[in-house]
């Protein structure tokens, strides 16, 4: 039976005519989970847990974190299943397992669905149903609202869709405390506002790819200059927002220094993207902001993790 299903190749051939059959390796299935995104999700969800100083067993917290990661991976898998046709058209994504013919679309759909339902159910059993509901909402938001509705329909796709990527700290906090506080909502807002300048910096460089696939990214719809202005506006919002945890009393001295310097770095990067509009300097400025934005977010959350996880928290505002 499985030999038969492995030999039915019509769906794979739709994306790669040379694929005779999908005989995906384990690593191909792992790639469907978008491991790099999963790392960011694990990290931000962990910070959402740690700032709450939970009293739950570390085993429960660990299993919850694992399920949040699996749920995020499942939504990435469903996204790749839905987007296989446009992934095949872009150089950045053409080698993904489905467009490359290594995994059949239906295999990816089944894999994503099993992991989605499994991760939500186990999170509910391990922690609580508020966290499970939030994880289910995150998966549906990414796979359905973002991938199926927004991505091909509006230039605001990653602005609204960014909510899915921003939710893990809230899910993490809910998993270990049973409630959601303003602290994790602020972390949500930081990731939410960080998303547009981060993705649009990449979109400025890859606009040709997106145009080929017919995805209405901001540079393709509003033009590069308007995108650059919006990057500056979002960064102007992001830099002070990064300091909000300090004002709210859960970001200490270490975090304050990271947020202040990192915010200035983001602003400098955004201004460079705004200024340099031609040739290689333009590309370097955009990729520089894209790379620095990842470092900025990682350092912000690492600051909170170190302060709260290792007892180094010293309040700035007493």
């Amino acid at each position: 039976m499985s030999s038969l299903s492995n030999s039915l190749s019509s769906e794979a051939q739709a994306f790669n005519p040379t694929a005779s059959a999908a005989g995906g390796e384990v690593s191909d299935f792992f790639a469907l989970l978008k491991p790099r995104v999963m790392v960011l999700v694990i990290f931000t969800a962990l910070v959402g847990m740690v700032i709450s100083h939970p009293s739950v067993s570390p085993i429960i917290a660990g299993i919850s974190l694992l399920m949040i990661a699996v749920g995020a991976g499942a939504s990435g898998c469903l996204n790749m299943w839905w987007d296989a046709d446009i992934d095949a058209l872009m150089t950045r994504t053409a080698k993904r397992p489905i467009p490359d013919g290594r995994i059949l679309p239906n295999e990816a759909l089944a894999f994503g669905m099993v992991l989605s339902v499994g991760s939500v159910l186990i999170l509910g059993l391990a922690s609580n149903w508020l966290a499970a509901g939030l994880l289910a909402f995150t998966i549906v938001f990414y796979a359905v609202v973002y991938s199926m509705w927004l991505k091909r329909a509006t230039a605001q796709n990653i602005v609204i869709g960014g909510a899915a990527g921003a939710l893990p700290p809230i899910v993490g906090q809910a998993a270990v405390t049973g409630h959601v506080s303003l602290d994790s909502v602020v972390l949500f807002l930081i990731i939410f506002i960080w998303t547009p300048p981060h993705f649009w910096a990449l979109a400025l460089v890859k606009s040709g790819d997106y145009a080929k696939a017919g995805i209405p990214m901001m540079p393709n719809v509003a033009g590069p200059d308007s995108t650059r202005r919006q990057i500056v506006w979002y960064t102007l919002l992001l830099a002070p927002l990064g300091l909000a945890p300090v004002a709210m009393g859960f970001g200490g001295w270490l975090y304050a220094v990271i947020a202040a310097l990192g915010g200035l770095g983001m602003l400098a990067g955004a201004v460079q993207v705004y200024r340099l509009r031609e040739g290689e300097p333009e590309r370097r400025a955009a990729m520089g902001l894209f790379g620095f934005s990842i470092l900025y977010l990682l350092l912000l959350f690492a600051g909170l993790l170190v302060e709260h996880g290792f007892g180094l928290f010293r309040a700035v505002i007493v």
């Binding site: 492995n6 059959a21 005989g23």
Partner: protein
Amino acid sequence: MIDPNIQIRPLTPDEERARRKRSIAIALTLGALVILFFVLTIAKLGPQILERPL
């Protein structure tokens, strides 16, 4: 009901090797799930797991 128009061919050695690896991964995942549920039960119930009416 299998569509008679579908052509069936045997798996290549590479495909068979990939299938074997997938099977092992599924077995390991199932084993991990058994351990996960066991640990979860102990962590949730604690010592009370032994307190049950006979």
